[in-house]
């Protein structure tokens, strides 16, 4: 009964008087679009403001105060003292250099090897799924698991790598104990662990290259190497610029591997900037100073990423 009552007046209400408003609405649409869009975005925006933008602003404000973990409130206003202290601290600069050094050590192999393995996996005629899976698999491991596996492999006198080296009659490198070698060891671990991500991006990029280009070039007598150089690499350029920027950001954010595998040692040789922030903020309880150090780091990452994007934007018309 109720349904009959509601359905009957509807057509009259909806069909005839609604037509003109629809037209009016359509004209107003560019502006009217905003509200529903905002409504749909609201849940995300609320969380984003609450947990990302809010804390970031709070951190920025905190960096101008002598905020401490063991007292409530912001504490005394410090002006630019925290920034001055960070910029004159040799520990801050050392940690920043360690982060950059790690980025230099990991970014090239993570891009070149990912590309090479993607090309090889693509060429495999049989068991292609196996190669795809094999290269991607380490990526799904949590950082703590990766770190524990590699700590045992690197362990002097007992570890797999150390024993292999001595069995081959070579001197046993002090993988994580030598200040010069420790960062390289961490880089090796990281390359093994995160290669899979770039590998998958390159595989996806390879799928987008039309097959007929290869066919046509083969008819023109191009060899496999020429095909890679003249077709594959240029057409992968957009993927490469994406991979590079993602990789640089990921490498600069390094924390887990050092924290678990070396604790920033030996003798601070692998302390990354994020660990420095962690040390001053959470061990020394100096959250105001830690906020200043992380703000400076944010500026560095932002500058590097912007620099790279501007460089690749300029190149794009030529591609």
């Amino acid at each position: 009964m109720a349904s009959v009552e509601t359905t009957i007046p509807e057509p009259t209400r909806v069909t005839s008087p609604e037509r003109p408003p629809t037209r009016a609405k359509r004209e107003a649409q560019p502006r009217g679009h905003g509200r529903p869009a905002l409504l749909f975005l609201a849940p995300f925006l609320a969380l984003y403001l609450l947990f990302i933008v809010g804390p970031a602003l709070y951190g920025l404000v905190m960096s101008f105060f002598d905020t401490s973990m063991v007292t409530s409130g912001f504490g005394q206003f410090a002006g630019l003292d925290n920034y001055a202290e960070a910029l004159t601290s040799s520990d801050f600069w050392a940690a920043l250099w360690h982060t950059i050094w790690f980025t230099i050590l990991t970014t090239p192999p993570l891009i070149v090897l990912a590309l090479v393995f993607a090309l090889l996996a693509e060429r495999a005629s049989r068991a292609r799924w196996f190669f795809r899976l094999a290269f991607f698999l380490p990526y799904i491991l949590p950082s703590a698991v990766v770190a524990l596996i590699w700590v045992w492999m690197y362990t002097p006198a007992l570890g797999l790598l150390s024993r292999t080296m001595t069995a081959l009659g070579l001197a046993e490198p002090n993988w994580l104990g030598d200040p010069d070698l420790a960062m390289v060891s961490l880089a090796i671990t990281t390359v093994w662990w995160t290669l899979g991500f770039n590998f998958v991006l390159y595989l996806a990029g390879l799928q987008d290259i039309p097959r007929d280009l290869y066919e046509a070039s083969a008819i023109d007598g191009a060899g496999p190497w020429q095909q890679i150089r003249m077709i594959t690499l240029p057409l992968l350029a957009r993927t490469t610029s994406l991979v590079v920027v993602l990789q640089i950001i990921a490498s600069m954010k390094v924390f887990d591997q050092m924290y678990i595998m070396t604790q920033g040692g030996p003798n601070f040789a692998t302390r990354s900037l994020l660990q420095y922030v962690f040390d001053v903020g959470f061990t020394d309880f100096r959250t105001g100073y830690a906020a200043a150090a992380s703000t400076l780091f944010f500026v560095v990452v932002l500058a590097v990423s912007t620099g790279w994007l501007v460089m690749t934007r300029r190149q794009e018309p030529e591609l």
Binding site: E10, T71, P156, G177, P266, F268, T283, D284, F285
Partner: protein
């Protein structure tokens, strides 16, 4: 004809309903959060207790909690175990600043003072403690006095956990290092120590002794502090505002450590904490230098071992690096006499179970048990009981204490010397520069 408009309406209805539902859910969520934020505190019958014990200590602490529960069935004991180190102290400080602290918490004696300086801990009045039978005289004097802040008590020490010498009884017997009763013959002085390690190395074919060096700043610091304190050296003064490192004594200790690792190869200069344990447990070394808490590890590994004091290497007054686990009562907004007595009753219960705790290797601070025959019978745990009276704590200072940046600075440099990558002189310069920076920084509390 009827279809499309009905659909349009239904879609809107659905959207509206969804939105309403979402709002309602958010509202409910907010009210739940609000309730959490505005909650005035736990029910009167509950007791929240935070600790940082894992491994064998964690198992024993749970036994002690269980027996407290059995004896106090009306009280709901909510025990929380958190990972030790920074995460623990961060959470404890933030919970207290946020007015939602546990009733009782474990803290290291050397880390408790920063919390007390931030006014996060309740001062424990002698008359309140006396109501529960806890008077200063009932505690190990050194641990009690080291825990006082301006002469006031903020923490109840439950133990002293010193750096000790583990020795493999089979290897040492073969090397002729044991006396007639099967205990390690006393080692006095640097030469005898080198001699003992050399003999042990001849038996094992690998190393004389081990301790953690790679990615472990605590062990090198503990060993250094033990030897340096035997020379009478101090690192910090005036609550950490002054660096008083004695270059000659520091060099003497560092040179000796370098002799053991680099020059004589008696100790591995590059092994991490777990690796050092593994080498000792598998018989690749006759001695192991570590905190006594690793007793459970070697018992589980069925290593034939015993424990004793770290020898007096430099002949001064005997000294050994140590810290104490304490129970503290964080400041809370709803504190009253009933809650205080509930918390102190729990503290007393933990002290009464000192035997269970001592089995894990810790030297009991509670004298009624420490002086008992039962403790004397407990071996090898009571072999190094004297360490509690000779304990040297990390120097007071806001950046000092177990797991602190002070230990990282000291241990990092000492470890670098032991690994052979740094000269003693360079290490001293580095320590001085890093500590001076910390000493001149205003404390966070």
């Amino acid at each position: 004809m009827i279809g499309p408009p009905r659909n349009a309406l239904t879609r809107r209805d659905v959207l509206r309903a969804t939105l309403l539902g979402a709002l309602a859910a958010t509202g409910a969520g907010c009210s739940a959060v609000g309730a959490g934020l505005l909650d005035t505190g736990p029910a009167p019958g509950t007791l929240a207790y935070w600790n940082l014990f894992g491994g064998g200590d964690g198992v024993r602490m749970q036994q002690m909690e269980d027996s407290y529960r059995a004896a106090n069935q009306a009280i709901d004991l909510q025990a929380v175990t958190l990972a030790w180190g920074n995460p623990y102290y961060t959470k404890l400080a933030l919970a207290t600043v946020g007015d939602r602290p546990p009733d009782v918490a474990v803290s290291h004696l050397t880390r408790m003072k920063t919390l007390a300086a931030g006014n996060l801990l309740q001062e424990l009045e002698p008359e309140d403690l006396a109501r529960h039978g806890m008077t200063a005289g009932n505690f190990n004097r050194r641990a009690w006095e080291a825990g006082l802040v301006d002469g006031k008590a903020y923490a109840i020490p439950i133990d002293t956990h010193p750096f000790v010498l583990f020795y493999n009884t089979e290897i040492c017997a073969e090397a002729g290092l044991l006396d007639a009763t099967g205990k390690l013959s006393p080692i006095k002085g640097a030469d005898q120590f080198v001699d003992a390690l050399t003999k042990a190395k001849q038996v094992t074919g690998r190393y004389g002794a081990t301790h953690g060096i790679n990615s472990d700043t605590a062990s090198p610091w503990r060993l250094f502090q033990t030897l340096y304190a035997q020379l009478g050296g101090e690192v910090l003064a005036d609550e950490g505002t002054r660096v008083v490192l004695d270059d000659d004594k520091t060099k003497q200790v560092l040179d000796f450590l370098r002799l053991l690792t680099v020059e004589k190869g008696l100790m591995p200069g590059s092994v991490d904490y777990q690796g050092a344990i593994a080498l000792f447990a598998t018989g690749a070394a006759g001695f192991h230098l570590n905190g006594e808490w690793e007793i459970s590890t070697f018992q589980a590994a069925k290593t034939p071992f015993s424990m004793t004091l770290v020898p007096n290497i430099f002949g001064g007054d005997y000294a050994v690096q140590a810290d104490s686990h304490c129970l503290v009562l964080p400041v809370r907004p709803d504190q009253d006499r009933a809650r205080l007595d509930l918390a102190l009753g729990f503290v007393r219960s933990m002290l009464d179970q000192s035997r269970t705790w001592a089995e894990g290797g810790h030297v009991p601070a509670w004298q009624p048990f420490a002086r008992s025959e039962a403790y004397r019978q407990l071996t090898p745990q009571s072999e190094y009981a004297a360490a509690a009276d000779a304990a040297v704590y990390d120097p007071p200072g806001w950046y000092s204490g177990s797991g602190s940046n002070f230990e990282n600075v000291m241990g990092g440099a000492v470890g670098a010397v032991e690994a052979g990558g740094m000269s003693a002189t360079a290490a001293i310069a580095q320590i001085r520069s890093k500590l001076s920076h910390l000493a001149s920084t205003a404390p966070p509390a």
